[in-house]
């Protein structure tokens, strides 16, 4: 589907955990959205010019609405968090390749999310026909999106402070619950993705991980958001793939993280 920049209307927004916001926007971009893709939102404040890449948490294709769940990390996201129903925002999308959902059909899978990497797991779980073990890691008992995830698979929780589920991270939750899978889909902080890459390589199973990096354009032109790759990338032929367009989802064995 062709990428577009257009004006979206905020249809709802609420804070679902401290600093974590849940926003629905009405936009035709919802029609072409694939799990694991992202959109870019543009702040109105002209001192903050660059688009903010945010993963798609849910896509309602009938109502043509997208849901994003994001953390306030700076001036841009702080501006977004103040938007109310009826406000507008400039959106670029839909971007990136998304997860290879079909590959999971009929398999036993891990959907693993850490912190603000959890939101894309929801749209992925909703679109996947598989035995879904959703393993998510939070800081504490503010387990946002838990109910939504529980409707779409078996949820295992890890918290850093041990207040809910396994004390520790998502890898600890897998061990403590004695879980196994044929395939992994993951999004989260880099230490978690490195641990998943190692685990998948040792277990000899594929792992599709979603990466993030500072971006300027979001469409593959600026070459700001690259990741080192095992094979030559098809764009520059220098083992540096563009996360925004060649990713954000990569098979873990393909990338050097």
């Amino acid at each position: 589907m062709q990428k577009k920049k257009l004006t979206a209307v905020i249809t709802s927004q609420k804070e679902i955990a401290p600093g974590i916001f849940d926003m629905w926007i009405a936009t035709e971009l919802a029609k072409g959205a694939v799990p694991g893709q992202f959109i870019c939102l543009y702040p109105k404040d002209k001192s903050t010019l660059l688009p903010r890449p945010i993963s798609i948490c849910e896509a309602d294709k009938e109502k043509e609405q997208l849901r994003i769940v994001y953390r306030v990390a700076g001036k841009g996201t702080a501006e977004f968090s103040a938007y109310k129903e009826g406000d507008t925002v400039e959106v670029l999308g839909t971007l990136g390749n998304g997860f290879p959902v079909e590959e999971a059909t009929g398999k036993k899978v891990f959907l693993m999310g850490g912190g603000i990497g959890i939101p894309p797991m929801l749209e992925l779980a909703k679109n996947m026909q598989a035995d879904k073990q959703i393993v998510v890691g939070y800081r504490d008992d503010k387990t946002f999106l838990r109910e939504d995830l529980e409707k779409n698979g078996t949820v295992y929780i890890a918290t850093e402070d041990g207040s809910v589920g396994t004390k520790g991270n998502v890898m600890d939750a897998i061990r403590e619950n004695g879980l196994q899978a044929d395939m992994i889909f993951a999004c989260g902080p880099m230490p978690m993705l490195r641990a998943i890459k190692k685990y998948a390589e040792e277990a000899g199973i594929p792992a599709y991980i979603s990466l993030e990096e500072h971006m300027a354009c979001g469409v593959g032109a600026c070459l700001g958001c690259v990741v080192k790759t095992k094979e030559k990338d098809h764009h520059s032929h220098v083992h540096n793939a563009r996360i925004c367009t060649d990713g954000p989802v990569f098979e873990a064995r393909e990338v050097d993280i």
Binding site: Q2, K3, K4, K5, Y42, K46, S47, T48, L49, L50, P51, L92, E213, H214, M215, A216, C217, G218, V219, G220, A221, C222, L223, G224, C225, V226, V227, H235, S236, H237, V238, H239, N240, T245
Partner: protein, 300 residues
């Protein structure tokens, strides 16, 4: 209404170009804008061999602009000739190839490889602040700039634009050196060297520590330098630095630019180039400007 401009014998349908490094070779933004509407596409810098570029983070936002330290990642001249030139030839726009290198020989190799290709002009990048060897080393000393310009002119079949760095004491000295060495045109400004520190992590925002600043915040510096250079040399100038809309573009032309390039604005608005083409036409209509050339350097 005549919107065409001519630089070194090459006529552009309008003065709107893309700033090197912000537009790839046009493929990515071809999804958003009709490349046929642009005066020229100026490509990402290309070297004799592939360059991997710098470690990440490569980009950071600053007030009213951004820093980048991409480090000229590019696939090298072989892939460029095989893939990017045929892509651009599908469109009715001029092709300006930005050439980078570490040594004079590197630049000459690329220039020679391009000699038999169907590209319209060469822009020589002697002003990238983000690579250690070559590039900026040639762009901050007048004698070095004179030397590389003369050498490239000996080998180039297409007209040569020298892209100037703003990170110098007196840009007119650099402009005069390039002109004296035979440059057909100048483009300015490249990015301004900057730095950002993350006070929470207590690290540099960019892996390269320093980066080139671009975006609307640098525009007044760029307009001033275009004006100074326009009054110091006879050769045409392609002006750039923070151009976001048609008003900015007109401002650069009034200061002395024959054409203008749109850079970081593409990231903020992927339709920026085409909107600027339209906006310039609207301005000409509003002020009854029959020929856009009447705007060039009109403010003395």
């Amino acid at each position: 209404m005549n919107t065409s401009v001519t630089i070194a014998g090459v006529t552009f349908k309008n003065p709107v170009m893309t700033a090197s490094g912000t537009f790839g070779s046009g493929m990515e933004y071809g999804e958003f804008v009709d490349l046929n509407r642009l005066g020229a596409v100026v490509t990402k810098g290309v070297a004799n061999v592939p360059w991997p570029g710098n470690p990440t983070p490569r980009v950071a936002e600053v007030y009213g602009g951004m820093l980048n330290a991409i480090g000229l990642q590019n696939p090298g001249i072989d892939v460029f000739i095989e893939r990017d030139i045929p892509f651009l030839k599908q469109y009715d726009t001029k092709i300006i190839v930005n050439v980078c290198g570490k040594t004079v020989e590197d630049y000459v190799e690329v220039v020679e490889r391009l000699a038999d290709t169907d590209v319209d002009m060469l822009e020589i990048n002697v002003s990238c602040p983000n690579v250690k060897e070559g590039a900026i080393a040639f762009g901050q000393k007048a004698d070095a700039l004179f030397g590389i310009t003369s050498e490239i002119k000996k080998h180039a079949k297409q007209p040569v634009i020298m892209k100037l760095s703003p990170n110098v004491t007196d840009i007119t000295e650099m402009a005069k050196a390039a002109e004296a060495a035979g440059a057909d045109a100048l483009s300015l400004i490249n990015t301004i060297t900057g730095m950002k520190i993350d006070i929470h992590k207590r690290t540099f925002a960019l892996a390269n520590k320093t980066g080139g600043m671009s975006g609307p915040a640098i525009k007044p510096v760029a307009v001033r330098m275009v004006y100074q250079v326009a009054n110091a040399v006879q050769i045409p100038i392609i002006g750039m630095g923070g151009i976001s809309n048609a008003e900015d573009a007109i401002e650069f032309m009034l200061a002395g630019a024959t054409a203008i390039s749109v850079g970081a604005a593409n990231f903020i608005n992927p339709y920026a180039t085409e909107e600027i083409v339209q906006g310039i036409e609207d301005y000409m209509q509003k002020y009854n400007v029959a020929d856009i050339k009447d705007l060039i350097g009109a403010v003395k």
